[in-house]
Symmetry: C2
Amino acid sequence: MESYSFLFDLAIIILTTKALGIISNKFHMPQVVGALLAGLVFGPACIGVIQNNDFIEITAELGVVVLMFSTGMETDIKELKESGKSSFFIALCGVLVPLIGGFLVAQYFNQPDRIPSDASSTLFLQNLFIGVILTATSVSITVETLKELGRLKTRSGNAILGAAIIDDILGIVALTVITSFTDSSVNIVFVLLKILAFFLFAAVAGVCFYKLYSWWSELAHRELHRHVVFAFAFCLLMAYCAEELFGVADITGAFIAGLVLSGTKKSHYIAAKFDVLSYLYLSPIFFASIGLKVALPEMTGTIVAFSLVLVVVAVLTKIVGCGVGAKICGLETYESQRVGVGMVSRGEVALIVASKGAALGLLGSDFIGPIVIMVVITTVITPILLKIVYKKDPDMISTIDDDGFAKNYEIQERLRQFSQTHSKI
Amino acid sequence: MESYSFLFDLAIIILTTKALGIISNKFHMPQVVGALLAGLVFGPACIGVIQNNDFIEITAELGVVVLMFSTGMETDIKELKESGKSSFFIALCGVLVPLIGGFLVAQYFNQPDRIPSDASSTLFLQNLFIGVILTATSVSITVETLKELGRLKTRSGNAILGAAIIDDILGIVALTVITSFTDSSVNIVFVLLKILAFFLFAAVAGVCFYKLYSWWSELAHRELHRHVVFAFAFCLLMAYCAEELFGVADITGAFIAGLVLSGTKKSHYIAAKFDVLSYLYLSPIFFASIGLKVALPEMTGTIVAFSLVLVVVAVLTKIVGCGVGAKICGLETYESQRVGVGMVSRGEVALIVASKGAALGLLGSDFIGPIVIMVVITTVITPILLKIVYKKDPDMISTIDDDGFAKNYEIQERLRQFSQTHSKI
């Protein structure tokens, strides 16, 4: 390490995400919107004061891991189980509808006289691949927004969390199926077995850690730092195993680690410490890094048209797919709307999938720009849309599930903090 | 970023620094010792499970910046000013004595029939350069140890802090003088002017930030997150400017930023949040990274002998130099001992100086190994020695300054936390 420019980069990121976050708040938008814009405005896409680099990218990845770990700790495992079936159905609809929508849009634009493609696969596979890109939900933006609005612990919040995890698994399956057509080394059965193995592993590791931790925490209950540190190590190991050993997303491993801890006595204390790590350091870098990755492409008229259509289809297919799925599972209409909107954001997952596809000859180079635009717009509008759908107060009778809980949540939180500080003194 | 191995590295670092820290505690040594050993044992020097890399190195640098920032916030600016004169004298003696000691040791060993040197400078400059390497104190280990022992806010603690900052400046001057003999682009007058300019800049920036912050914090006094975030941005900018614009150490800039904030109302709240960031994430990485940098060199009998003599001289010259300096300035004998011991640790500064010297032909390649060994040993024994000298209880009459304060400190700290949590609810 020779240069100290990381100090400058960090200062700009931490300052601008907060400043634009405050400005967003003044316009009645969640702070997340401002944080996302900070990376766009000060990154290579506009002013170019800061550039993306390995350090920022790794720290950002750690940021989303910690975010999902905290979310796991705050999730009620019982409620998540209860919403399991409907989550699966929501995720399935939310994968199929965008898959078909993306395929149809690509079918229209991916032609030699419209947008000529330089990819090596058949047109059918290429078009299907654009559908696959549209399936990937990035739940972290939604989670942060719901936390900010105090609505994470609602029925719709739980449904979104469950559906996002399953969406991730279905996304891996879809990606594997399509790449197995071009890359003979990819075996779909093997991938499915690995996913299955991961959940077995997670269950065994979770139970072992829980028992070991419960036994140990009786011995060392006064040394609170240790609880936080060992919890962090467990989170990191689960995230690592998920990604490297089983091919599942690291955030899924971190979320499960959080779920395991959610049942322990010290989980609120631990979660409070990770909150500090997130808001002070990791989250600003994560949100800014999304914007930093964006370099706006050269555009022709047809590519602009394709981009716009892709954005509209991306937004609508998720809202409709997940919303209808939720409605069929018995959620209220306003809850179904919320679930649909919560799944709109695509984020970095779509970009990773796209770059894999480009390497395999499944995606023409002219299509990468519109996908970047789709990711940016879906990511920035998700928190704005969420604020709108969570603001609408449904009639009083139906507020018991979704709103009653949220209103109580803040009061409960304060009471908990009060009793905690008293037990510490 | 393609690999997720950073998750594994972080898990091992966070787990082993804490585990070895707890074991150190069982042997009545500060936790810092265990954290330092973790990097040595699990790094390339022994087991080799984790390797140093850019991400770890940058995060470690940020760790020491935040550590010195927190230290600045906890420092009483008035007491630091009062100890200013004696700090300068302590630092001066603590630079001159090791400089001469190192020169004499090198004079004996740096001969063709003992350790042949492949450096291009004259033998006189080479030997002087080894003296320069011995002048650089790394105060962060001492700061962490004194924090752990609850003794940072003592007269000796203040003297160490002040002397370490001045030591850093004197070290830069010494390095500049010697490199100006081999590198014609280095101009000592220019370097001195830049150092002077830095302190002017720091004073102006500090006053401006203090006024702006005091005005703003009246407006936004309820949004506590913002205070912490803007304080962090100020710290990062000061660290960056110190290093990149003025050639002063980044930690000096961060320490001054902390000093500026120490006078504000919210400084205890802000310091508590940075404590979490440090113990949970940044500090373990910083301490482990010191050990990770160590790759033990091939050794001949003479090189082993040189290493041992160098270690002894490095330890004794700092204890004697700073200790005698402190005694002359009117500190009690036991306080002078503490100051001397607190300045023993060399840490990463000596390694950076050594690698610069090697590049300029001032240091033979066979001399790098012994310097690494000297750095490791002085770093690991400093917290052990500190615990010993801070344990010895002097007779009651003289405890008012150093010990009375420390004993009160913990009680005051608890009271402050109590009143803080009450004002929050």
